[in-house]
Amino acid sequence: MDYSAIYPEIILALFAIVIPAVGMVMKDSKFLAAVSLAGIGLSMLAVLMHFYEGFGPAVFDNGLLVLDAFSGLFMMIFLAVAFVVILASGRFIEGEKHAPEYYCLILLATVGMMLVAASTDLFVLFVGIEVTSVSSYALVAFRKKDIKGTEAAVKYFIFGGLSSAFTLFGISLIYGITGTTSFEGIGAAVGTLDEFQEIIWLALVMVIVGFGFKVAMVPFHAWAPDVYDGAPSTITAMLAAGSKKMGFVAMFKFFLIGMIAIKADWDIVIAIVAILTMTVGNLAALNQTSIKRMLAYSSIAQAGYILIALPVATEFALTGGIFHIMTHAFMKGGAFIIVATLAVAAVGEKIADYKGLAKRSNFMAFSMTILLFSLAGIPPLAGFASKVVLFSSPIQGSVAGTEWLVWLAVAGIINSAISLYYYARVVKYMYVDELEENAPVERLKIPRSMAAAVAICVIATIGIGLFPDYFIQLCRDAAQALFA
């Protein structure tokens, strides 16, 4: 057995176990955050070392888990998300009673996401999803006195449990049909079967519903705004930037390896769902008054964009999907962390509370502007670069027989145009609208660690936007590794 394939997960899991023990002696949130950050750093180092030494894909336990360009890239994305979330959390949850558990659960959730990224087998994938989900249920309810938070957690738990049940049912059907749970085995078996068509469809529907809940795909999206709104903002950042993206990894693996042979049976369904998801998300975001709900609906819309990669199913499209997941992690993660930061500085979570923000904290207003414009796809920011790859892929992929794919690009572009309205509205509140005459204009006190977390996201957004070449290459390597 080649344990080097799972060093990153092992390191992170060890830290997750150690932190509650450390918490017995040192309850200081900042100290625990520092320990967690060290763990994430080491885990990142393990991923990087693996590729730095030029190892090929490392396989663990006869191919249950693999560390290759695809899983490596996603591990780095998930670890980066955990890094900024924890960096911001040091101050955000200061003085709360259960700080050690909080960090432990975030690290465990990240381990789950990494397992999903590395899995080559449906069951391992499922276990990874569960590890993440169970940790996040608890994290959403972290402030147990907060009614909104606990309500959100209950909702999240019920929907999550239902989604797991659907997924598991689908997996069991697939196992029954193909006799295997490894993606490659499923892919090979599905390619040769034809008499079990109906049951395959049933299995497909089950899995689509199950994963659909996870990525908040329309019509299974109803939980997302409530949960994102109710959860502590740092946790919302992790849900939107990390655990939701884990759902996409699962979908990529399931559809593009396992079900690619019968693509003609599901591609139009996913395409319609993708268009619905982006449209519903954007339209619902238009008249939100809470910034978190607005960002939650925007997340749903962005999920719709990422789904474009599935029906197109070319290497270029997958590159675009992965690239957009990467940029979205920084944009949306950063935006939610700004909400968290401002909450610490006693600014409300209504969009109207952001009125005149530019005067009260120039850095926060500027960062939010950059992140929102990037989400809207304004060049030369990261969101534009990834949308270019993603939206151009259906045009490239529309060959004879699949000309209809072009409509995915058209829908994406129209939706980007709609989305500009609600992003620009926040910018308008921050910069254009003046405060009322007698409102106090004191400068906000922004905790330095939280500002640093925001700065990382902003720098990544601008940097990837200006120099996308290297990142596109990384995503393309990852896409190639998945298709190999």
Binding site: P379, P380, A385, V388, V389, A409, I414, A417, A424, D469
Partner: protein, 497 residues
């Protein structure tokens, strides 16, 4: 003498550096103004050097620079100018410089205002110089952001509505254009065998694409450009944006941003997809004529001086499109010349609106009267602007309109009557407006003790522009000699004469 100096990149670099430095001078408004002035003067000088150094008969793109930027997608940072872009680059550097002088009295967030003007200059210059579709699009979109804030923060009472309307309208149009660019990119790649966003690479093969492809993609590109110009019926963002924008914002909006739309048609849509353009010719002509007539008639109905000038822009940009739609060398050359001429004239018009508003507190035509008695200099500049805009011979507007009309007659015969009639309407609304504002009895807004005439920072840009309007009106060859040699390729692609 400039073989080794990347003059085009420097043209982009100085506004960028200037924007950052000016922004950082938040504590000291005076220093911010000076820094903006200096950093807009340097590009002006550079563009003059470029004008002198450009070889008019050389043809093709000159001062070319190219670097690989995003290799994975075949995106290169390519800059270059030809006879169409050179006058536009000069116009941009000139107008931004003069607009900054004109804004000398801005007190509210001076550093941000000036920095945004320089960012705007960066974007506009980038559009006029980019030779890679991707880079072109990026600069195209960058322009929106400073203009959004200029309208939104320093604008009139309904500024936040106008700003967001401007942003969304033109952004939607840009996205449709982007779809068209994607289609060109992949179709060209399937012919060439490699991916490239380079304009020259794509335009070398795109004229031979299938007709059905060309018709659709031309439609997408043309839509993007027509909204920006703006052509009837996609013009509705323009009056709102203009009325609410601060004066310098209006000057740059009408003087430069509208030109981007026209420039896109002549640089991108026509040469890339000539067959598609042929199919769209009558739609282009119809839209051009509708814009010319509609703009002029709307002007007659306006009570707000600035709104009148805004509608006149729609009418005059219609003349540009009409020139292009003739597909003849004379028509296209005169259309490009009209872009240049309109840039100069409309700047004067909007500045004078700003002066009147500033001094009397109103732009409402019925409430003004007898300005000539109280503000002789302002009234003189206003007359120069109005007369130039209505096409008085000897001024720059006349040359352009005469050229377009000649080409229109050659190409379509008596269809010319429609734009000719609208010229009469144009003369009518300008002279009528002049009568009511400059002459006639003093109204209570004008008849006040201490009504000042133009100040130095208003008079200087107005005087420079008025001088140029007359100079280029007398010697149009100064600009035409750049434009005409550059049109050979596009005219032959369009099958014109």
């Amino acid at each position: 003498m400039l073989e080794n100096i990347p003059i085009l990149s420097l043209l982009l670099l100085f506004p960028l550096i200037g924007a950052v430095i000016t922004f950082l001078l938040g504590k000291n408004p005076k220093a911010a103004k000076l820094s903006a002035l200096i950093f807009s003067a340097i590009p002006l000088v550079l563009s003059l050097v470029m004008l002198i150094d450009y070889v008019q008969t050389g043809g093709g793109y000159q001062f070319k620079e190219s670097f690989t930027w995003i290799d994975a997608l075949g995106i290169q940072y390519i800059l270059g100018v030809d006879g169409i872009s050179v006058p536009m680059v000069f116009l941009s550097t000139l107008l931004v410089f003069l607009a900054i002088i004109f804004s000398w009295d801005i007190e509210h967030r001076t550093n941000q205002y000036m920095a945004l003007m320089l960012v705007l200059e960066l974007g506009v210059l980038g559009v006029f110089m980019a030779l890679d579709y991707f880079v072109f699009y990026i600069f195209w979109e960058i322009v929106l952001i400073p203009m959004y804030f200029l309208i939104g923060v320093w604008g009139g009472p309904r500024r936040s509505y106008a700003a967001i309307k401007f942003f969304i309208y033109t952004h939607v149009a840009s996205l449709v254009m982007l779809l068209g660019i994607f289609a060109l990119y992949f179709e060209a790649a399937s012919v060439n065998g490699y991916y490239s966003f380079g304009m020259e690479t794509i335009n070398a093969v795109s004229p031979f694409f299938a007709e059905s492809f060309q018709v659709i993609v031309f439609g997408a590109l043309f839509f993007g450009f027509a909204v920006k110009m703006p052509m009837f019926p996609f013009h509705t963002w323009l009056p709102d944006a203009h009325v609410e924008a601060p004066t310098a914002g209006s000057v740059l909006l009408a003087g430069l941003l509208l030109k981007m739309g026209a420039y896109g048609i002549i640089r991108v849509a026509l040469p890339a997809l000539p067959t598609g353009a042929n199919e769209w010719q009558w739609i282009m002509i119809t839209m051009a004529l509708l814009s010319i007539v509609y703009g002029a008639v709307m002007c007659l109905a306006q009570k707000d001086l600035k709104k009148m000038v805004a509608y006149s822009s729609i009418s005059h940009m219609g003349i540009v499109l009409l020139g292009f739609a003739t597909f003849t060398e004379l028509g296209i050359a005169a259309g490009v010349f009209q872009m240049f001429a309109h840039g100069l004239i409309t700047a004067v018009l909007f500045m004078i609106c700003g002066v009147v508003q500033h001094k009397t507190g109103t732009r409402n035509i019925p409430r003004l009267g007898g300005l000539a008695a109280k503000m002789p200099y302002a009234a003189t500049f206003m007359m120069i602007g109005f007369l130039a805009s209505l096409g008085l011979p000897g001024m720059v507007g006349f040359v352009a309109e005469f050229g377009v009309f000649t080409a229109t007659y050659d190409a379509f015969g008596w269809l010319l009557l429609i734009p000719i009639i609208s010229v009469a309407i144009t003369a009518a609304y300008y002279i009528w407006a002049m009568q009511r504002t400059i002459f006639g009895p003093l109204t209570k807004e004008v008849d006040i003790e201490h009504l000042h005439d133009v100040c130095w920072y208003e008079a200087l840009p107005l005087a420079v522009l008025s001088g140029l309007i007359v100079m280029f009106g007398m010697f149009p060859a100064l600009v035409m000699d750049y434009i005409r040699p550059a049109l050979g390729t596009v005219v032959s692609l369009l099958g014109g004469i």
